[in-house]
């Protein structure tokens, strides 16, 4: 049996706080770093998780009926919805036999008070770029599959990822949402009319997109140059000294080791993260497969 510490402190109501003395509440607002350190010293976290434990991951596939593929992911409170829209386009001159995938991460003001309305901020841009890199590096979709008529017509997949609730670890949630949505995507059949040379889309007949790889990310935070925690919440993210995201696929190949800076990490520590990421990959792939099968069974 797993021992579980349930901290009710999240309510910020001192009368309800059963597990810890009142002063901890004061400490949390006044000295947030010290507050977190006191838990980390005991090898646990303020919400009752172990250091290498993810929050509960909830996945819903096919959430948006108007999209060609969609998925909603909740990682604790962090919520990301992904909708995929397929459009016909002309391939580029450099790659006539390939379609393309355009991911976009949106962090609207509704998901957290830290984001302002207007053009995408730095975090949203960095996340979009990261997702684009993961798609390219992992070869989750081979862009050759998106080609309909070489040099003339191809599919372009617009993957819109929107964060509905921001509570840390955006990248992991985005990758799961994207992968699940891609697995859910069904493209209509396109035939090219030989007389008019115009494409005809048969919306009745749809085929599934072939997902070659299953990249899944695991994000880590480093506290005080040494303590590694997995799946940080937004409070932990803002207090830590470095971030790290490792993306692995089912063959245990790494698709991205993204550490934008912060305190340094030795090769040994990095290896620990990779091991954890590999376990996470299996866990999530199982989840996605099971949910996809349940959707298919229901149809």
């Amino acid at each position: 049996m797993r021992y579980k510490v349930k901290c009710v402190c999240d309510s910020f109501n001192p009368r309800k706080c059963l597990s810890f003395p009142l002063f901890l509440h004061t400490v949390r607002t006044a000295e947030p770093l010290e507050y977190h350190r006191s838990y980390l010293k005991e090898n646990c976290r303020h919400d009752g998780r172990e250091l290498s434990e993810f929050r509960t991951t909830t996945l819903n596939i096919g959430s948006i009926s108007t999209a060609d593929g969609s998925a909603l992911v909740k990682l604790g409170n962090t919520t990301v919805i992904c909708g995929i829209k397929a459009e016909l386009a002309n391939p580029t001159v450099e790659a006539p036999g390939k379609g393309y995938i355009v991911p976009n991460v949106d962090l609207p003001p509704l998901c957290s008070s830290r984001f302002r309305p207007g053009p995408p901020g730095e975090q949203a841009q960095a996340a979009s770029q990261f997702i684009a890199d993961v798609i390219e590096s992992s070869e989750v979709i081979q862009t050759e599959d998106l080609c309909i008529d070489r040099g003339k017509l191809c599919w372009v997949l617009y993957c819109d990822l929107m964060c509905l609730d921001y509570d840390g670890n955006l990248l992991d949630a985005c990758i799961i949402a994207l992968l699940a949505a891609l697995k859910n995507t069904k493209l209509p059949e396109v035939t090219i009319n030989t007389e008019t040379c115009s494409p005809e889309v048969n919306l009745e007949k749809r085929r599934e997109l072939h997902v070659h790889k299953h990249p899944v990310g695991a994000s880590f935070c480093i506290f005080d140059n040494s303590i590694l925690i997995v799946d940080p919440m937004s409070e932990e993210e803002s207090l830590c000294t470095a971030h790290l995201t490792v993306v692995t696929d089912e063959e245990e190949r790494l698709c991205a080791v993204h550490k934008p800076g912060g305190t340094s990490l030795s090769g040994e520590k990095l290896q620990e993260c990779i091991t954890r990421a590999a376990t996470r990959q299996r866990e999530i792939q199982k989840l996605i497969d099971k949910v996809i099968n349940s959707v298919k069974a229901a149809q």
Binding site: L254, A256, V257, H258, K259, G262, L265, G267, L270
Partner: protein
């Protein structure tokens, strides 16, 4: 120039010139083969109220591409450079002030991010900002046959299967920053880190030599 086909594990000839611009408080241009980046630092100076941080200096990094306006790619590189600099600079010594680091790409012939990191470090040194350690950037590419190439040219980058850039600190030679492209095995990653660590020794030695040369006479 690297010779194709032979063992690619070498750093192209590299060079650096410090305080070449009169306006910035610190400036440096760093050259790796044909790749070249110019860096300028302003600060510590007055900060905008909206960007003020009460207990440390605000560091802004701007990356200017050679052609056109900065895109999302530059943004993510800015983020990498900024967070690396933040980790090594002692920002808490200048609370409520601003530091601005501008990186201008002069020529991109591969390993651009590592060159930017090196230029940034030299410019920060030239500006005389207090740092807890120095850092350097090393790019490794893995070609289709699985060989590691350090400091690849643009052509080598294009042919490579995977590309990794690491920032290594001078104190413990650990990984400050990592940015990767393409897929690779765990073993390849660890090898590349080890190679970068050994390559970083050369770059730090170069840093030391150039500082020694610079202060050999009083300016």
């Amino acid at each position: 120039m690297e010779v194709y086909g032979s063992s690619g594990v070498s750093l192209r000839e590299f060079g650096c010139e410090q305080s070449l611009l009169s306006r910035p408080d610190g400036s440096a241009s760093f050259i790796q083969g044909d790749t070249s980046v110019l860096a300028g630092v302003y600060g510590p100076a007055e900060v905008k109220v909206s960007k003020e941080i009460y207990d440390r200096a605000t560091l802004e990094v701007l990356m200017q591409p050679k052609v056109g306006l900065p895109s999302v790619r530059e943004r993510s590189q800015e983020q990498c450079v900024r967070e690396t600099c933040e980790a090594s600079l002692l920002l808490s010594l200048h609370p409520r002030s601003s530091l601005t680091l501008i990186l201008q790409v002069l020529h991109d012939d591969g390993s651009l991010l590592s060159c930017s990191l090196n230029a940034a470090c030299m410019a920060l040194m030239d500006a005389g900002l207090p740092m807890s350690c120095l850092f350097c950037g090393v790019t490794c590419a893995i070609d289709t046959e699985g060989r590691i190439i350090t400091d690849p040219t643009a052509a080598q980058e294009k042919e490579s299967r995977a590309l990794m850039t690491f920032a290594i600190d001078s104190k413990e030679h650990r990984v400050l920053m990592s940015a990767t492209k393409g897929s690779f095995s765990v073993n390849e990653l660890q090898q590349c880190i080890a190679v970068s660590q050994s390559a970083s020794e050369k770059i730090f030695q170069f840093y030391r030599d150039s500082v020694r040369r610079r202060y050999s006479k009083t300016l």
